[in-house]
Assembly symmetry: C2
Homo-oligomer: 298 residues x 2
């Protein structure tokens, strides 16, 4: 059990993630320069780095090598960043602010934002194919497959499509959950599953437990996001607050109210923590991170 505080650990991971992303991205003076500058603008210097934190926390379960965790964490963050760039575009959410800065299509232009998102996704897959993620190359290929499935039309991109289709509709709780399991949940779940494959192999039962934890954490992340979107202000969030209501999008808050949504997040947190208990001290960071995700203010 590490006696470094959770906030120190979190700061360390955020810092090493920034450095890893900086190395993964092409330099700003490599041609085509404007594209590479815009890719760096989209990725560096901001973000909570939730997915990299989950990767490293899960890596603690299997004593994984930090360089391997950095690699899969960077890939997940590149996928997440590409999805934000495209999601902010005028034909999607049409948002001007992200991580406290103008969005890519505002700072550059729409065509560049389109290509930035495209090239960030490609870079994610290039990055995971450039050096080892684990000792077994067959498992390595399976991890690339898992990253793709979590990102694609039956994962994150599919969740975006369901989200688009749901604007102005009355969703019930299970439909809302179905959307979020895809839109944000798939990548969060993959973060835990992939981090846990970077070290000594776990058995099927342990992996199934972690998959359950990943599913729960993904949903509770979204419940808290909805609460923050409803309650916080734009300056605190670094992105436009209240936009779900403005866009007439169903949320946990619109369906349940803030008070019940908070209770739900707390129940999910307890579920995840109970599932992690059998892992003992090796689940320290993942448990702390789960509690942090529920209590975060941004």
């Amino acid at each position: 059990m590490s006696h470094r505080s959770f906030s120190q650990w979190m700061g360390d991971i955020q810092q090493r993630t920034e450095a890893a992303l900086d190395r993964a991205l092409p330099a700003a003076d490599v041609a085509p320069e404007r594209l590479h500058q815009a890719m760096r603008y989209a990725v560096l210097g901001g973000g909570k780095r939730v997915r990299p934190l989950l990767v490293h926390a899960a890596g603690q379960l299997v004593q994984a090598d930090n360089a391997r965790l950095d690699r899969i964490a960077s890939a997940l963050e590149l996928i997440h960043a590409y999805s934000l760039v495209h999601d902010d575009m005028p034909c999607m959410d049409d948002d001007a602010l992200r991580r406290g800065k103008p969005t890519v299509h505002v700072e550059y232009d729409e065509a560049t934002a389109l290509l930035v998102g495209d090239a960030l996704q490609t870079l994610a897959f290039q990055h995971v194919a450039e050096a080892s993620l684990c000792d077994d190359p067959v498992r390595h290929i399976a991890m690339i497959r898992q990253l793709a499935i979590a990102s694609g039309s039956r994962g994150m991109a599919g969740g975006q499509a369901i989200d688009l289709a749901s604007v102005g509709l009355e969703l019930n709780l299970s439909e809302l959950e179905f959307m979020h399991i895809h839109k944000t949940g798939a990548l969060i779940r993959a973060s835990i599953a992939l981090g846990a494959q970077c070290g000594r192999p776990l058995g099927d039962e342990a992996m199934a437990t972690l998959d359950h934890v990943g599913k729960v954490v993904g949903l509770l992340f979204q419940v808290v996001d909805d609460i923050l979107d409803a309650e916080a202000d734009t300056a605190t969030l670094g992105k436009t607050a209240g936009k779900d209501a403005a866009n007439d999008k169903p949320t946990y808050v619109s369906l349940l109210g803030v008070s019940r949504a908070r209770e739900l997040a707390e129940e999910m947190c307890q579920d995840a923590l109970a599932s992690l208990a059998p892992f003992g001290d090796t689940a320290q960071r993942l448990s702390e991170l789960t509690r942090f995700i529920v209590r975060r203010q941004f």
Copy 2:
């Protein structure tokens, strides 16, 4: 040496590519249905399948298994299809016609076109990580890396960015070549290189020769494309003709004139055929295909 005619062989490859893509794509009745329908609309039922033809032609050099060639060919075609969907969007070329049909953003909507392109790219990487491409898993990972590099910011997507930046500019021949080596050349070059890695391993010298052939074929493909864009009509092309001139884009024809562009294509063809000569009969299809690419009318 096969005595089946080239046009029979080409028809066979196009047919098996269509079937392979049909299997690779999620079914139209799988949720999210509209996204999956639009992905199928973007990919199936059209296109010359130049990249799959190159993969299979290169596969003949190494007696590669057809199922493996189908897999990498499908991935390359999915990447190509995603790039067309995004390239046709209003913020890029704003084109309404592709392969004789309305483009995806016209038939569906812009947000769907954005997600279709995103999800097709992801599917390409999922597909190459789902079954073996060659006997050695370490080489398999290197092939995934090569696919990503050819598609990304220093390959195809980078070429798109250079293309965007060049509208209205006076490029010289070497700048035009630099753009096309990326925009269309990278994926064509990768098609030959990847097809040639699906069977018995070739030596470094043979791979370097094939890389040269791939580079030359990529450029001559573009030279011919420019000639066709200048001379053919929209009905024959199945996409909007004359749009390069209309968009004030530099082309081989605008720089060299049609007659010199034709000579250049023929010189490149002879260069590629001479490079392929040492491979003897195993290069039959690749030589025939190179000649076909020069003489095509669409």
